[in-house]
């Protein structure tokens, strides 16, 4: 295990350096995942190694669960059934619709487990296992395990998949025309000619609605950015925090922060998956129906 000193240094590029020995071998915690091997041109980063491990762990759990499925649940099946029920109820609270919950739930649970296992694997005290590579400041120690979600590539991949899947789900739920009109509100512009005589304010409202649609389109890209950077920022900050605590007082001081990071890992996985649920629910909701409903309510009042 590397013995950190209090001579840590935070460089301009956001690298936290904990010198392993008297200035020769350094342990750099970089903003990006470091390659530990190459397959042709393809770099295998330490975050990918963790992700592979996460995939294997989840697959093993799934296989064991499948093999032990019984009519009368016992052991691991009891735990998963309780978790499934609880998670489905939580989904219902977000979607307010059991049908949507049942459709989105598998994806949301997969996202949750994948992120959770990745987050927690990064906390394993196996930082001493790795390779020594030539870094920016001389020979640097690169650990094999780095939380998969502490690499922006992983979080971007998850965020893109979530946003794209939400839009596909929206198209399947309310149709391609209504989904298209959410972003490029042609219908609102067309409404100018239809409703102008009845309601002259449409001249102002329709362009605003069209512009709001465009904002929604930009919002989809913002969703990818916010999802990916939130998760990456939190997990990477946790790793920096642990490294800093190790540098201040090795072994003892990081322990409470490891518990904190376990909690943060759980919360972040939960936030990501709940946001995925929210995006799916929004994508499946029909704005027109909602507006019509509001109009009816107003008329009724």
């Amino acid at each position: 295990m590397a013995k950190p000193t209090d001579q840590n240094d935070i460089h301009e590029r956001g690298e936290v350096i904990a010198p392993e020995t008297s200035g020769e071998l350094t342990h750099e915690l970089t903003l990006y995942a470091e390659p530990v091997a190459h397959v042709g041109n393809f770099p295998i980063t330490n975050a990918m190694v963790t992700s592979f491990a996460a995939v294997i762990i989840i697959a093993l759990i799934a296989v064991v669960l499948r093999m032990r499925l019984r009519e009368i649940p016992r052991g691991i099946q009891n735990f998963f059934e309780a978790m499934l029920e609880g998670a489905l109820n939580l989904c219902d609270q977000v979607t307010n619709n059991r049908r949507i919950s049942l459709k989105v739930f598998p994806l949301a649970l997969s996202v949750f487990l994948f992120i959770l296992v990745n987050n927690w694997l990064g906390l394993l005290p196996l930082g001493g296992i790795g390779v020594i590579e030539n870094g920016d400041h001389g020979p640097a120690f690169v650990p094999f395990l780095r939380s998969g979600t502490a690499d922006i590539n992983t979080t971007i991949a998850l965020a893109i998949m979530a946003v794209v899947a939400a839009n596909i789900f929206g198209i399947l739920s309310i149709g391609i025309w209504k989904t298209f009109n959410k972003y490029v509100n042609v219908k609102a512009l067309g409404g100018i000619f239809v409703r102008l005589q009845k309601d002259p304010t449409v001249l102002v409202v329709a362009p605003v609605t069209f512009f709001v649609g465009l904002l929604e389109l930009i919002g989809e890209f913002a969703k990818v950015a916010s999802l990916s950077f939130r998760l990456f920022g939190n997990i990477f900050a946790g790793e920096v925090l642990l490294l800093a605590m190790s540098a201040i007082f090795a072994y003892a001081l990081p322990i409470p922060f490891i518990f904190l990071e376990i909690f943060v890992g759980l919360i972040q996985a939960l936030i990501f998956s709940i946001l995925v649920l929210v995006y799916f629910t929004i994508a499946a909701s029909d704005h027109d129906e909602h507006e019509n409903h509001e109009d009816k309510k107003t008329i009724h009042v």
Binding site: P43, M48, I152
Partner: protein, 155 residues
């Protein structure tokens, strides 16, 4: 944008690789764990719901059967009571009839006995009379013979 990509080492190849990783997790979880588990839970829920319905139906059935049983029991008791009462009445009537008949028979028998006794008595008295008469005749005869002998002897 360029600086963000270079600072964070954003690499589309790694993004694709991580997306594939997640797709594997989703596939494995969905097909090996979630789908069978949900199916099993749904089947169990249906079975439990069916069981509860059956139990409710059985309870209702049991209640109605209990009611029917009680009604049948009450009816049977009433019928049994009626039959018993009828039987008892019949038995009473029969008993009275038999007693009456027996009384009559006994009376007839007593009357017959008395008559037989009377007849026997008359017969015995008659016979006794006959005997006495016979004896008297014989005695008279013997006396007369003896008297005749004595007269002869005296002669």
């Amino acid at each position: 944008m360029e600086s963000i990509i270079s600072t964070f080492h954003i690499d589309w190849k790694i993004i694709v690789a991580q997306a594939i990783n997640f797709a594997i997790v989703f596939g494995v979880l969905y097909f090996l764990a979630l789908k069978p588990l949900q199916k099993l839970m749904e089947e169990r829920s249906e079975r439990i719901a069916r069981g509860v319905d059956d139990a409710k139906r059985n309870a209702a059935l049991l209640e109605s059967s209990e009611k029917e049983y009680q009604e049948a029991l009450t009816k049977a008791r009433a019928e049994a009571q009626a039959i018993f009462q009828e039987g008892k009445n019949e038995a009473e009537t029969k008993r009275a009839e038999i007693l009456e008949k027996t009384h009559l028979e006994v009376e007839v028998m007593i009357a017959n006995g008395k008559k037989t006794l009377e007849d026997e008595k008359v017969k015995i008295v008659e016979e006794a009379k006959n005997e006495i008469a016979t004896l008297a005749i014989e005695a008279t005869k013997k006396i007369l013979i003896a008297d005749a002998d004595q007269i002869e002897k005296i002669k």
